[in-house]
């Protein structure tokens, strides 16, 4: 966007609002997890069957 904005002023974004505060809040257990080995299993997992795996996302 260097050229599209050429000649226009450099504007800042609004500062962070810090919703929920600035201190770390542990969320590692926010939702239940299952055994990671299930994700690596090359064979169909017995009941309950796994949903389709969305592979690499970035």
């Amino acid at each position: 966007m260097k050229n599209a904005l050429k000649g226009q002023p450099v504007l800042p974004f609004p500062p962070a609002a810090n919703i929920g505060g600035t201190d770390p809040v542990p969320m590692q257990n926010a939702v239940p997890t299952l055994d990671p080995a299930l994700a690596q299993s090359p064979t169909p997992i017995p009941h309950p069957a796994p949903a389709k795996t969305p592979a690499k996302k970035k």
């Binding site: 599209a4 450099v10 299930l38 996302k57």
Partner: protein, 604 residues
């Protein structure tokens, strides 16, 4: 002998009867045609012009319309050009009647013998043929042509007919009328033409393709011969002196642009504008002949930057089915400032920016982040970003496995950093925590239309939905506008050929997100451009920026959605076949949103 004498008598009588009968029949047909052939309003045709599409600053982008024509009054056409055309086509135009009997007889004779239709038409006839009749060659059409020519001469002055003729006749290279021909052949206004240039335009009229020098040296030679013929004709009629003619040098002629008005990237702009005009209720007739002026929201600088950036930073693709799309939108108003829908509209009519769809990948993560912020979840909250992980999906009551890109590990990562590095194993539990339906609701509010199907599951933030590029550009423009959604639009105003305003757009905007939520979202998305997945591509970007990369399964699509306070732009690369990977193009083993898309975004 008697039999022979009788035979001769009968032959003479038969010939007289046939000729006489033919004459009576022809006269009857002519009179019948005279009273039954209707002349369409000539002014309506002559005044009909293409719709001109303009950038926001008034610079023309292109035209909609079968004919590229700009009408000019006769007074603007130099006398020398008028004389040159008369010398080439009809020297006696001002002194003769509507049609030339000898020319017609010659034409009929050749047509009856099945030969090619001969010339000899007067300027009035040529105008009648050009303006009101089809190119079909038949006796019936020839009679109609004569009838219309006669009627025209009764209704209009010679000057009016000549002006209409000059504004409608075809000069080749897609140009109708002297003004457009002047532009196309000499890149100047008709009143700036020299005698030499006048003679060229008069020469090509006779058979534009046959005399176009762009077709080869022999065509140039023909044109030069015809050009000399025209100059000689002007001398013969005392319209110029011998000395003037002798001084003329054959002029330089502009190279032919080997493309139609829809060729190249601008074809997608013109096509989309046409589509939007039809949505607004303008008819095809209005678009083709109404002489409308359509002012768009596109900014010339941004649009040219977009085409240039895509051209310079799109890698060479050996497969040949790579699609690149870009849309820039002004936050808060929805004005489409730039759009790249493809390389050449003549080759592919699918607009990559507004019609094609592709999986969005992690471009959707901000929607989950917004839903989280709305529920008071802090950017400083700490999550387990190790990979792989398996979660229990409460919706489907099944386990849901998720991996990070490249199986990267992010133990105890803040939501801020998880956004910067696009950590899947954080955004899936985040989505489950905030509720997948809430994520979808946020996406809809931001600008993802109902036509884009989304399933309320843990994968929604990973972007398994397939939006248009303009949809995501709209959503990120909502972020840049601090929570103001604005419906995207490209047409700002439509003027009629009398300069009256036929349509004026109105910004359709509404507040959909809290500014504090947007401030924290932007803070997180700034991490993407400064230390995250797009940092390398944007290292030298000289402004504060925020954005999000998106790369889908097997690298089949790669996105970068980013914004500054003034402008939001989405860039996407994908293929015709959504199952084919982008990997390998440009020598990259892994084409991600942080590679070519972010590089294009930076340059535009």
């Amino acid at each position: 002998m008697i039999d022979r004498e009788n035979l001769r008598t009968w032959f003479i009588r038969g010939t007289i009867f046939t000729l006489g009968g033919g004459f009576v029949l022809f006269s009857f047909l002519f009179v019948y045609a005279y009273f039954t052939v209707h002349i369409p309003d000539p002014n309506a045709y002559v005044n009909s012009q293409a719709t001109v599409i303009e950038y926001a600053d008034g610079t023309p982008i292109g035209r909609i319309g079968a004919e590229d024509r700009v009408s000019v009054p006769l007074a603007s056409v130099p006398l020398n050009l008028r004389h040159a055309i008369m010398a080439a086509e009809d020297k006696n135009f001002y002194n003769e009647h509507a049609f030339s009997p000898t020319g017609i007889i010659r034409a009929l004779y050749h047509n009856l013998l099945g030969g090619s239709l001969q010339g000899g038409s007067t300027i009035t006839q040529q105008y009648a043929k050009t303006a009101f009749l089809t190119p079909q060659r038949s006796i019936q059409r020839k009679i109609k042509e004569i009838v219309i020519a006669v009627k025209l001469e009764q209704q209009q002055s010679k000057d009016q007919i000549f002006e209409n003729y000059l504004n409608t006749i075809y000069f080749g290279r897609g140009s109708y009328g002297v003004q457009t021909a002047s532009d196309v052949f000499f890149n100047r206004h008709v009143d700036q033409l020299t005698i030499s240039q006048d003679a060229v335009l008069a020469s090509v009229l006779n058979a534009p393709g046959y005399y176009d020098p762009a077709n080869g040296p022999q065509y140039l030679a023909r044109l030069k011969a015809r050009w000399q013929y025209v100059l000689d004709g002007m001398v013969k009629e005392n319209w110029i002196t011998k000395q003037q003619a002798a001084k003329q040098v054959f002029p330089d002629i502009q190279p032919r642009v080997a493309s139609g008005s829809l060729a190249g990237p601008k074809g997608y702009v013109i096509s989309w504008v046409e589509n939007q005009l039809q949505t607004l209720g303008f008819t095809q007739d209005q678009l083709q002949q109404g002489g409308l002026v359509v002012k768009t929201t596109l900014e010339k600088q941004a649009q040219e930057a977009a085409v240039d950036a895509v051209s310079k930073r799109t890698p060479v693709d050996k497969q040949g089915n790579l699609r690149v799309a870009l849309v820039s939108i002004r936050p808060g108003t929805g004005e489409v400032v730039a759009m790249y829908g493809g390389q050449d509209y003549l080759k592919s009519q699918l607009n990559n920016a507004t019609q094609a769809i592709a999986e969005a990948g992690s471009s959707f993560k901000p929607f989950a982040l917004i839903a989280a912020l709305q529920q008071g979840i802090s950017l400083q909250s700490v999550w387990d970003g190790t990979s792989p992980q398996v979660f229990f999906d409460p919706g489907s009551q099944t386990p849901y496995s998720v991996f990070n890109y490249g199986s990267e590990q992010f133990p105890n990562v803040s939501l801020l950093n998880a956004t910067a590095h696009s950590v899947n194993t954080v955004f899936v539990p985040l989505t489950i925590k905030v509720g997948p339906q809430n994520v979808i609701d946020v996406a809809r509010q931001a600008g993802i239309p109902q036509s884009v199907a989304m399933v309320a599951g843990p994968s929604v933030a990973l972007g398994v939905a397939s939006p248009h590029v303009i949809d995501l550009a709209t959503a990120y423009a909502t972020f840049a506008a601090q929570g103001i959604y604005a419906k995207p639009y490209i047409i700002s105003e439509v003027l009629g050929n009398n300069q009256g305003v036929l349509f004026q757009s109105q910004v359709q905007a509404q507040k959909v997100f809290d500014p504090n939520v947007m401030a924290d979202l932007t803070t997180a998305l700034q991490g993407v451009t400064t230390k995250g997945t797009a940092a390398a591509a944007l290292a030298d970007f000289p402004r504060p920026s925020a954005g999000k990369t998106g790369t889908t399964t097997d690298n089949a699509a790669a996105w970068f959605n980013g914004y500054t306070p003034q402008l939001a732009t989405t860039v996407a690369l994908f293929r015709d076949d959504a199952t084919q990977t982008l990997n390998g193009i440009g020598g990259l083993n892994a084409v991600t949103g942080g590679s070519f898309p972010a590089r294009i975004w930076s340059l535009i």
